[in-house]
Symmetry: none
Subunit: 406 residues, 2 copies
């Protein structure tokens, strides 16, 4: 696998502009045995042309057979090691509401729940309150809970869900190795959060104090009379795109999780564009200001998750339609791929490798592939390889890496 | 990646003869969009036949996207880890003049320079003296400089350049972690060489003393009145071909750097043959004496570096023409590849993978590839893989590796 430090050592300050167009969940699967995949059936004249003029292949996002979450998938595309540099659940939840996490913050997922008089959990979701009701409950907690030496930051997510962030006010850094209070099933008592390391002992004390105060504050509520916490995680210390690659990066994404992840990697962000056409216009506005653009298209994934084969096909075609406007900007390197597969026939993320194309008129060595599809690219010049290799290849084709060794 | 220790553990003392024909910078790129590469356009009936009868693929020399220097490229082809077992600049310079480095030697690159009365560097190359003048200046230094406890070995390279080697006379080994005196730009003073480790403290002292004495010796020179040193490096402690693979190896190469690298790996060397035909004759003379032959053809790279597409094509054809004479020797394994790509269209080394063919009549499993070219071999049975895998494959096909596990 590519060593990010090697890329940093070899990086050149000059070079061309790189665009990653990520069609979320791009990889698909046949709907009927022997039939075409979503990408194969889609009419994509522009993607086919890019594949013909460029080089193609398939990406194993995490490892063969491993189904990636969206966070891990994007990290791998961006050249980070998705196993070593995992963005964990609590942090993903905070990113998912675009919460501005700072270094040292510890985040967790929270649920309002219903507990009976004996402390047994009756409903892990407190009867699914409305989002408005959820916001009222979060406000109540904000007014009621105070912890010694740390800021308690609470943000509603949706319905019964919220995010808790503990932010150290200048003392020793907080460890994040704390076990869940959420037993992940009803009919039992909540678990006592325990520290898994010496550094996390104080965090566990703070979390227990939080739970005690939350229970008191919510005692008068009919259903949401307690909270459950899970997925404690610290904001990971990842090198930014500037640190790792010497790139000034900009993300163009509609959905909070992707926007949050981009912010974590030091990318600037445009306003949520609201679809592919506006996304390209947004890139055009910023074209001179950045060296790297990450454009995210979500609906290829959401239609796949819905099991909507035709809907996913249409979303791929919608992305294809904006390629000419993107190419009019003349990126030196244009990569089109996905962060994982989401075959409509499985209605879920999957482990299947993801097709990729790299278009770079001045530097690419073309392969013999003439169209963009899962089967076509198996003959591609990039072969089947780890997604982590992609950034090095993009940087090389943009003239942004020096020679290794004399 | 292949573990060299595993190969050593499994090595058999019997087996066939292996030949590596390395066409330096072999990999190319289209000159016009959609056109053929240098190798694809070259008329290579013999290489095409070898590809048809053998197995083919593409090599990532260091890593995908990384452009290798020639030293790193050859190390990788020879099964050494180019990232862990780097041959650094000072040593490469010494190898480049075929200087017989010994274990423990510390080598550096030197320049004669012009300094003004204040010690500011006016010209880092002392007005580019002739090579004859450079030799006179090196002789002057040889007569003038003496260091306590170490031999000072000085060799002219070309014009203002020379190599300095410090050789311990039996005391503690010299560390090589010493910073450059060369500030790499004019208009400033030279830097004071500093030790980067405890073991290199004495080396740094010796280097400072060398610089002081050199300054005194050159004080009367009009232009070359000082020297600059950079790239301090120790001769790396690499296992020889005999130690690593149980092979008696012989190098047939014209250019000093490759001859020096071969010597570093314990290869015997023929006289510089002066071209491919004489190289094969030279191999024939030694055929019974060795198990492994490394034949180096430089001009595929130098024409590529010159941006001379047709010249590189002609050099590939020249190499093709000697294949029948090479095959007449009946090598058990014949590998043809390059140490990196040098596309004429880029006029430089590049990261593009390098085509490879392995011909081994008695043991190979043929693939369906019928010609030798960058696009053809993407369908090859070797796939796209790290260059470091090549030695294991060659040894296996030569019957030189035992079974792993019972």
């Amino acid at each position: 696998m590519t060593d990010q430090r090697l890329l940093r050592d070899l990086h050149l300050d000059t070079g061309g502009t790189i665009v990653f167009l990520v069609l979320d969940g791009l990889g698909g699967r046949e709907e009927v045995p022997g039939g075409p995949t979503e990408l194969e059936v889609a009419v994509t004249p522009h993607l086919d042309r890019l594949a013909r003029e460029g080089i193609t292949g398939s990406l194993d996002i995490v490892q063969p057979g491993i189904t990636p979450g969206s966070g891990a998938g994007h990290l791998a595309l961006f050249g980070y090691d998705p196993l070593e540099q995992l963005v964990e659940r609590g942090v993903l939840s905070a990113l998912g509401i675009d919460f501005p996490l700072e270094a040292g913050d510890v985040a967790a997922r929270g649920n309002f729940c219903t507990m009976d008089a004996d402390g047994t959990i009756v409903d892990r979701r407190a009867g699914r309150p409305s989002s408005e009701e959820g916001r009222r409950l979060v406000d109540l907690l904000r007014r009621s809970v105070q912890l010694e030496g740390v800021e308690v930051l609470l943000e509603p997510v949706k319905e019964h869900r919220f995010v808790l962030v503990l932010r150290e006010r200048g003392g020793r850094p907080l460890g994040a190795d704390v076990s869940d209070s959420d037993p992940h099933r009803p009919g039992v008592a909540a678990a006592e959060p325990r520290a898994g390391s010496e550094e996390s002992r104080r965090t566990a004390d703070l979390v227990r104090s939080f739970l005690e105060q939350a229970g008191e504050a919510l005692a008068g509520e009919e259903r949401a009379n307690m909270v459950l916490l899970r997925g404690f995680a610290a904001r990971p210390d990842l090198p930014s795109f500037d640190e790792a690659y010497g790139l000034s990066a900009c993300a163009v994404a509609d959905y909070p999780m992707y926007r949050g992840l981009a912010a974590l990697l030091g990318m600037a962000r445009t306003e949520p564009p609201g679809g592919p056409e506006a996304a390209i216009a947004s890139v055009a506005d910023r074209w001179q200001a950045h060296d790297f653009f990450f454009i995210h298209h979500k609906k290829t994934d959401s239609t796949g998750e819905d099991g909507d084969f035709d809907g996913k096909t249409a979303q791929i075609e919608a992305a294809d339609a904006v390629i000419p406007d993107l190419q009019a900007l003349e990126p030196d390197v244009l990569v089109v791929t996905g962060d994982h597969s989401t075959p409509a026939s499985l209605a879920a993320h999957s482990w299947h490798p993801v097709p990729v194309l790299l278009h770079a008129p001045a530097t690419v060595r073309r392969d013999a592939v003439t169209g963009f599809g899962e089967r076509a690219v198996t003959a591609g010049g990039l072969g089947r390889r780890p997604a982590q290799d992609l950034m090095a290849l993009a940087l090389a084709h943009a003239g942004r890496l020096g020679k290794y060794g004399a």
